[in-house]
């Protein structure tokens, strides 16, 4: 049976821990597949790699091990208390395959940095005898980068790496290494990752597919189901106000406005596309440490109907970020591997269903994204040799 590697950037974080533990639990029969999109019947004919065939590795700079991370999540009620001890061996085995991530790159990324990352990926693939590897970025949200020549010009990027002065974010350094190692890449965060034009071109040349960005797991998911409803009914949305209360590690990162900026931008774009205009209303992301791994979002939509009638819809979403995101990580790894098998390269707009800020398409409506995804997976496979 061919095995597929899943290499997680931020491998000891909450989402990654839940994804690894969950895959172990599903494989052993200790847990079901609720939340796994690719387990729905629509995907049965696509012969995706099985959840049980996924092998995990990854980079992280945190010292907190996977087991400790899993136990913390179980203590907080996010994971069932019995799973971490029951699956401790699997967690430890995965832990041994993790490698040190990139430290602070604010002084410039060096050739040696990306070479090491690439070597880690190649070593993982060989050690585990994998058919292929998908790299999934689950690292913390980065500040929005400035604009530099090495972002757009592939030669300038190579030259800057040689001199150790490449002003690219860490996520893009990981993406560079992945593409060089021939690994498909999934940008699950709002980070830049492979979206630098210089990297997008490298992906095309390397025959590597990539997907992104910014996993759609909560408030934006609901938005993408509701906004098309207003549009189809010709109701005029006057204001759409959104508040996101986050307690987890990502909340802390996003408390810094510089980091929140890219996330806010990717959240706002979709609404305008779905409604045909940008309504009034704030979009807040607030760090509320007390909430722990939970997140709560409130949206208030003020809309106008026939003859100017003023009406409103509001919703409150209460969820666990890691429980929502982790199965999507498994889905995306399976789908990206599938695309890679099919010989696809470059951005994968069919995966827009999973993202707040999808590459390669302007479609933000959930139902249309679902149709695009399932149509692709229902099509007769045209696998590359």
């Amino acid at each position: 049976m061919t095995r597929v590697g899943v290499w997680l950037i931020g491998a000891r974080g909450s989402v990654a821990t839940t994804a690894v533990l969950g895959a172990l639990a599903v494989r052993s029969g200790a847990a079901g597949r609720t939340g796994c999109v690719t387990e729905r019947p629509e995907f049965a004919g696509a012969r995706l790699p099985g959840i049980g065939d996924l092998v995990f590795g990854g980079h992280d700079v945190s010292e907190t091990g996977l087991r400790e991370s899993a136990e913390r999540l179980a203590g907080a009620g996010v994971l069932p208390a019995h799973l971490p001890p029951a699956l401790a061996d699997g967690l430890d085995r995965t832990e041994r395959g993790l490698r040190r991530g990139l430290d602070d790159v604010s002084g410039g990324v060096r050739r040696g940095d990306v070479d090491r990352l690439e070597a880690d990926l190649r070593e993982f693939s060989e050690r585990e005898a994998l058919e292929r590897v998908v790299v999934v970025d689950l690292s913390s949200t980065e500040p929005r980068p400035g604009a530099y020549a090495e972002h757009t010009d592939a030669d300038a990027l190579e030259a800057a790496l040689d001199t150790g002065t490449a002003r690219i974010p860490a996520s893009s350094a990981y993406a560079y290494a992945a593409l060089r190692a021939g690994c498909a890449f999934v940008e699950f965060t709002p980070n830049t990752g492979p979206r630098l034009p210089a990297l997008a071109r490298l992906a095309d040349r390397s025959g590597v597919p990539w997907a992104g960005s910014d996993g759609k797991t909560g408030e934006t998911l609901v938005k993408s189901a509701l906004a098309p409803m207003f549009a189809a009914r010709a109701l005029h949305v006057r204001s759409w106000s959104s508040v996101n209360l986050l307690g987890g590690g990502d909340g802390a990162t996003l408390a810094d406005p510089a980091n929140a900026e890219s996330k806010l931008a990717s959240k706002a774009r979709g609404l305008e596309h779905m409604l045909g205009h940008g309504p009034d209303g704030p979009l807040h992301i607030d760090y509320v440490p007390d909430l722990g791994d939970a997140k709560v979002a409130w949206d208030h939509v003020s809309f106008e109907g026939f003859l100017g009638a003023r009406m409103s819809l509001q919703f409150t979403w209460s969820g666990y970020d890691s429980a929502l995101a982790a199965p999507l990580v498994l889905d995306l790894a399976r789908l990206a591997a599938h695309a890679h098998r099919q010989g696809r390269s470059g951005p994968l707009p069919e995966l827009a269903f999973f993202f707040k800020d999808p590459v390669g398409t302007r479609e933000h409506g959930l139902a249309e994204q679902w149709r695009a995804l399932t149509s692709w997976c229902a099509a007769p496979a045209e696998e590359a040799e």
Copy 2:
């Protein structure tokens, strides 16, 4: 210019009044087309009858005239205060074309009843020189009827009408008259209307199309946008609790559990189809007179994600029933006339988008319904002679 008749059962009620006033306002330029689905670009190629080409008539048993009804709605803030006086002439003209509806039919519908209704329709069509007439049922919710031979057997129905003992609800008597008069029929309420098998067969034989039932204007609309989201994301909805607070005339009718039964049944069916299972949770419709023409709905959805994580979504919808329903009445009149022009007869599943309990299809998801509707209207017209 061909003109199309719209004959409203319950022509002096809030929804009908708003539809008539609104069409007058749109025609005169005094109001915009917000809330009119068929004014969206997707319908531009279908050459539907224009809103300005609609001519209104109808039946009602209420003595409160259209003008008085419009002024009441304006006083309650549902309609702009300046519209009823500005359009008083048009309202009066329409008022003069209204005819007395059916009084209590609990003793049995008689041949004379349906003959009179049919004659009213034919007289309307001739007087106004109409291309065709669409009858739209906007009457109060009826109790769910018992089962009788004349419901399924067309001959038995004719015989019972002859003896004046046809145990059919008023809505079905109106539908019978409409079909006999060659008018398309739209069942906008949860009432039985043309759904009696004996009538469905009559519609086929008469070459008349019909659509229904139970306009989807609020809480169920939101449900039909959200339930497919949970399904597509493989999230397990454990309970879905719904509360509808209604203040208007329909609320009073529904306060009688016998009347609420059919409405509740049509609301519940869809959720099960969309989720693949019927979740726990109550479904309440409550009459709260204080709310007047407003309605407020609260839904609480408890769902389970990956590894058993328990999460929730709740929403509150605050709207005006007549502002939501009236433009759909105009849409449905235009679309039913369009189908009739095309030579369609029998149920119109393409109009499921507008209904809680759509005929001729089991599709309840809003996005799929939208696709079916717009595909039909985008198709090259195949008009009948």
Copy 3:
């Protein structure tokens, strides 16, 4: 150190289990006193019995032991997972002191029944060398009883007990036994308990205080904080609609309308007292098994301000019934023992703060109830010899 007994009717249910485990945890230092009203500084001078001085016993008809019950609650995330094993000894010790409760009394309560209950209480008091015992009813909600002579006439009650035909609810049988045994009684449910006039008189004669009824732990608590706000601001509440979704055992009991009736009545009364009029709007209690030990309540308040302006307030409360009720059980046991020490007998209106349907007072506003409670506890003790 004097020790005070707390005898729980329904001793193996969720609330009782949480109260017992919680008292053990507080005593051992394994948990804090959050939620314990009588630990606030306002009560410091009253020299109430300490939480650590409470000794637990009780009646139940369930066979599920305290330990199993605690483990189930911990598994559901209502109790911390580490507490049941850590306090297993204490739970087992309490378990051994529990006695079989009353089986079905629909055929009539017999003298032997109440004698046995009374004997259990006396045996508990002696075995544990207790200063006094407070009986707290935590049993399931009963149907509202009919009206019988033995309810009002103490002699008729004695006679009916003698013939084994006393048509009193189980809760009143427990109350009778408690009063005979000289134990203070707290009716924490909406059940009749000591409110039968025949029993109220017995309490006076026996010099025993009692409190009740129906613990105010969630939606009604919030109501009792908000309704006085509307009243004080002279805002006119037009409708107040309430929905309670309950998943636990009490939810199942209340799914039977006969049982819900008494609860609904006690919930509705207060609103009318606080507002000065009874507003429109439904009051639902629904059983949603999926919610488990959680309860969710939604209230929608429509109110009118100056010059007829229409405004609204809505709230959603999500809580755990046992976590909310259990510390109040400890509070009430301490306060009832305190009153008994002071020589009080009959109803204790000072404890209205804890109840939806307080005895001996019509004050339902939370702030006024708080003032009455703290004033009483701040008053110089006038203990009986």
Copy 4:
């Protein structure tokens, strides 16, 4: 009958317009007294000036007249459409008594400025033959001022006025003029007004009472009813997140963070006092123009109960700022006049019930404030000669 003057700073704004129109409507019997606190029975014995005895004047820099302002509010559905035309004469009469307010004072307030304001007040009092005048500040929210010698030192203030360089906000200039004219002052906004130490001393010396600040009309009102509930029940509030969406003129002003600062500070202070600690959570004020005169607030409270159980309460408040504030303006005018009659001078802590940031007391709980207010008004009058 003695008549009392009410001089409004910002006399043509929404709140002032509603207050004036409302008083005219109440006097003429065209509207009821809903929302008027001082019309409750608790105040019947205090012999407050009647609503019909209030005479209005005021300052404003806006050119939009009272009538136009009232018609705009009626058009937006905030006021009944029939009132502005019915009371046009009264509005016009009041309009004629309005005077030009202070223009930009950023260059320094001059002696001439405050002299003119004082003269306007004296002229009003004489022209209308008033027993006394209460000045109520309803002007826009100002930026929080810097610290200057003339704020604390009365002599420095006089000197700076003489040289035309007094760096005091406009609200304080109005307060200065009012105190000099012997008028009681109500600071209904978060502005500085009479809170400068130099002015507070002037008020004492002049024998003039004043009250403030920042009218408690919506989200903070609800907070002040709910926070004491958590405290009394010993529940630990972990986070309290607040979002205020405002559409009106004040919303626009508050969109500038410099202006919002003082409002946010006054809103936050109370929560800490009521809970005994300052919980986590953001406090947003957002300008959403689409909302017009409406405001919507959402609060999410995460709290902990017994044994660490995590629970939540959330509420949504939808109201009209002017409908909520206007009757309180009438209440405060009556109460401030009452205090002045009684010979009170300096801050009036008894009026804390009306304010987010009450002067002279740290009590923020609504019920305690209500008790203080009604106790004062129930006390036997000790009027000054």
